[in-house]
């Protein structure tokens, strides 16, 4: 009897050790961090020159060249310009990481290879990545790409040229530095800046020329302001964003719901520890009973 009680306490202690880390996290990413930076892509200004695609490859030291341009984001392409052609309408469209305010990839990633870091930039750390590709499942925009053609693959996606714009020694942004694509764009169709400035800029463009931009019910829309909980890369266009390949998302990020359910089940690790204790006691009682019956 006394041994059983000791075993019980020991068991609880072991199970309890796992309980140190869980934190309440549903409000963690309610809005963009105060120092957030991002990009604004205005499809109505884009001329489809793909200079940004080449500049991105150069800035990130990725293979490929402008005479054989990639057709989609892939394990060696972090930024792409594509064209949508409808009956009597067309538009260019840029794709790269949206740098979500509440990123699904970072929520999914087991030991934090994907992280929302300084300035809200979502980065990938090769030292912490197992290559499980849950980030690809979890990204509503299908942005992270995997290198399928090598035995030592990496996950590849836009990190907002974090290595160029961000000085790791001082922790500040480098004066005048910007991501490769924004630097290369001849029409300022994609610009880099503080998130709050970009939102204001987009609103100003809409206010100045509302007829130029698409929106549901004629009300011009900034994609990313609230979509999927918001993104630090914002879009303006004169066609519906669904046609341009962006998903229709609610105002709440999917990561929030997943977190609430996961943390609801495991709040303070109380339920598993309690269940373990109860299971142990029931089994102990049952086995004592059957021993009595046997002997």
């Amino acid at each position: 009897m006394s041994i059983d009680r000791r075993t019980l306490l020991k068991g609880l202690a072991v199970a309890g050790a796992g309980a140190v880390a869980p934190v309440e996290a549903s409000e963690k990413y309610a809005e963009a961090p105060p120092d957030a930076v991002g990009m604004l892509y205005d499809a109505t200004r884009c001329i489809g020159c793909q200079a940004c695609v080449t500049a991105c490859k150069t800035a990130n030291n990725l293979p490929g060249n402008r005479y054989n341009p990639p057709r989609d984001l892939d394990g060696y392409t972090k930024n792409i310009i594509r064209i949508y052609e409808g009956e009597d309408e067309s538009s260019y469209m840029k794709s790269q990481c949206m740098h979500c305010i509440d990123p699904g990839c970072a929520n999914a990633c087991m030991i934090g290879a994907f992280k929302k870091r300084e300035y809200g930039i979502v980065t990938w750390d090769p030292e912490r990545c197992i290559g499980c590709r849950y980030c690809q499942v979890a990204c509503p925009y299908n942005i992270p790409k995997f290198q399928w053609d090598t035995g030592v693959p990496k996950i590849v996606k836009c990190e907002l040229c974090n290595h160029i714009i961000h000085d790791p020694d001082t922790g500040t942004l480098r004066e005048g530095a910007m991501p490769g694509c924004c630097q290369a764009c001849p029409k300022e169709a994609v610009i880099f800046g503080k998130y709050t400035d970009l939102v204001e800029d987009a609103k100003r463009r809409i206010a100045e020329r509302p007829e130029r931009y698409w929106g549901p019910d004629g009300e011009p829309k900034i994609f990313g302001l609230t979509d999927g909980g918001g993104t630090q890369v914002l879009y303006l266009a004169d066609l519906s964003f669904a046609k341009l390949g962006l998903p229709t998302l609610g105002d709440e990020g999917i990561a929030k719901q997943a977190r609430e359910i996961q943390h609801g089940i495991y709040r303070g690790f109380i339920a598993p520890v309690a269940l373990y204790g109860i299971l142990g006691l029931v089994i102990w009682r049952n086995s004592r009973q059957s021993k009595k019956e046997e002997g």
Partner: protein, 401 residues
């Protein structure tokens, strides 16, 4: 552990033809794996950036561990609900569970791209350790599955210790086995409790995983209740595997069937399957998705196929008279295994629609690699039941040992 005392090794020499076939098959498999590890996953699979998870995850891991829930289902019935007379089923169920989970772990190593970093998960990264992302359901699955593989082999430990104690020529090994068995007498309760707790945690989390797929998962499968649905259905699948396995091993190894035990277990399955169907359909109706059941094109068909498998199994089991016939019960069990597997396949692959115009179909080599994992599992099962006391029920024919 008197209740296991009549478990005996099947004994006899290994079947030469079977061993030769498996050796050749696994040899070819090893060559294919070599290609995968040198030239990358794309060379041997149909996986894409839009469908990063295919049969290796959906079948080997998600479905495979659910089918390996025999140990879980039987442990609940035997130790928690105190149906002590199911004990002869425990060891075979534990063995298939231990093998199933070990193979799932192997499949994960084959599937992940940067497998040489796997050891960093339990320590939370390296050199910056203990930085776990507790938001990640996959972390919970990974830690739980790793722990559970260990727990299952520990639960199975007495089978190996008994054999060593009885037959080993090394006195050190006999001493170790004796001490080990004494330890089990005291600690087994808490190991079994862990063996029930861990699957409860990660089988539900295997469902939680797909919550993050969000809009990419079709509305008929996406629901906040997905963790509970995965948990309930895995109990049904685990039980079904025990029935199927009992029937198979009695045919192959000429053991007595555990018919009466299995039949009294099947009553519990009526409750489990009913609960699943009520939750699955009730949730869709209450959340206003009734229309989707009929307007989703071929996915509607897939959905009804899935529901029908569960429902037919339930109909067979519901009548006490029908389920007291072993072949009926076997039929219901096979339906239940298919139903649960289909639910998992649909959630992870069929109903996963990441972007318009994207599709996935596994390549030949991808499926071949999965077959290799299964072949390895069967080989190990055969070897272990031949050599170690797992199966109970006196051989129907006189044993020649």
């Amino acid at each position: 552990m008197a209740s296991h005392s009549h478990a005996q090794p099947v004994g006899g020499p290994l079947n030469k033809r079977f061993v030769t076939f498996m050796a050749i098959f696994l040899g070819v498999w090893a060559v294919v794996l070599l290609f995968r590890f040198i030239y990358g996953i794309g060379v041997v699979s149909g996986l894409t950036d839009y469908y990063p998870w295919g049969v290796w995850i959906a079948f080997d891991v998600v479905t495979g561990t659910a089918l390996a829930c025999g140990g879980y289902a039987i442990a609940i019935l035997c130790y928690i609900l105190n149906k002590g007379h199911y004990h002869p089923l425990v060891r075979p169920a534990l063995l298939t569970s231990a093998l199933g989970y070990s193979m799932a772990a192997l499949a994960i190593i084959l599937d992940v791209g940067r497998w040489w970093h796997i050891w960093r998960i339990p320590i939370g990264g390296f050199p910056d350790s203990f930085r776990y992302n507790w938001d990640s359901a996959l972390l919970e699955v990974a830690l739980c599955v790793m722990a559970y593989v260990g727990v299952l082999w520990i639960e199975l430990g007495p089978a190996f210790l008994e054999k060593w104690k009885a037959t080993s020529k090394s006195s050190a090994l006999v001493g170790f086995a004796t001490a080990g068995l004494k330890f089990y007498d005291k600690a087994l309760i808490w190991i079994i409790a862990l063996g029930v707790l861990l699957p409860t945690m990660h089988q539900s989390s295997l469902g939680t995983l797909m919550l993050l797929a969000g809009h990419k998962l079709h509305g008929l499968w996406f629901t906040p209740w997905i963790p509970l649905l995965f948990l309930i259905s895995c109990v049904g699948m685990g039980y079904s595997v025990v029935v199927w396995e009992s029937s198979l091993s009695s045919n192959l190894f000429k053991r007595e069937k555990e018919t009466s035990m299995l039949i009294s277990l099947s009553g519990a399955m009526v409750v489990v399957v009913s609960l699943y169907l009520v939750l699955r359909l009730g949730d869709l109706i209450i959340s206003g998705k009734t229309g989707l059941m009929f307007t989703s094109g071929w996915l509607s068909l897939v959905f009804w196929g899935e529901i029908a498998l569960f429902a037919i199994a339930l109909l067979i089991l519901a009548s006490k008279q029908r389920r007291s016939n072993f072949s009926n019960m076997l039929r219901a069990s096979i339906l239940l295994m298919l139903a649960g597997s289909m639910y998992r396949f649909n959630t992870y692959i069929t109903a996963f629609q990441p972007a318009p115009g994207q599709s996935y179909f596994p390549s030949f080599l991808e499926v071949f690699i999965t077959f290799g994992v299964i072949a390895l599992e069967i080989s190990l099962y055969y070897f272990i039941v031949t050599r170690y006391p797992i199966l109970s029920g006196a051989p129907a024919e006189a044993s020649a040992r």
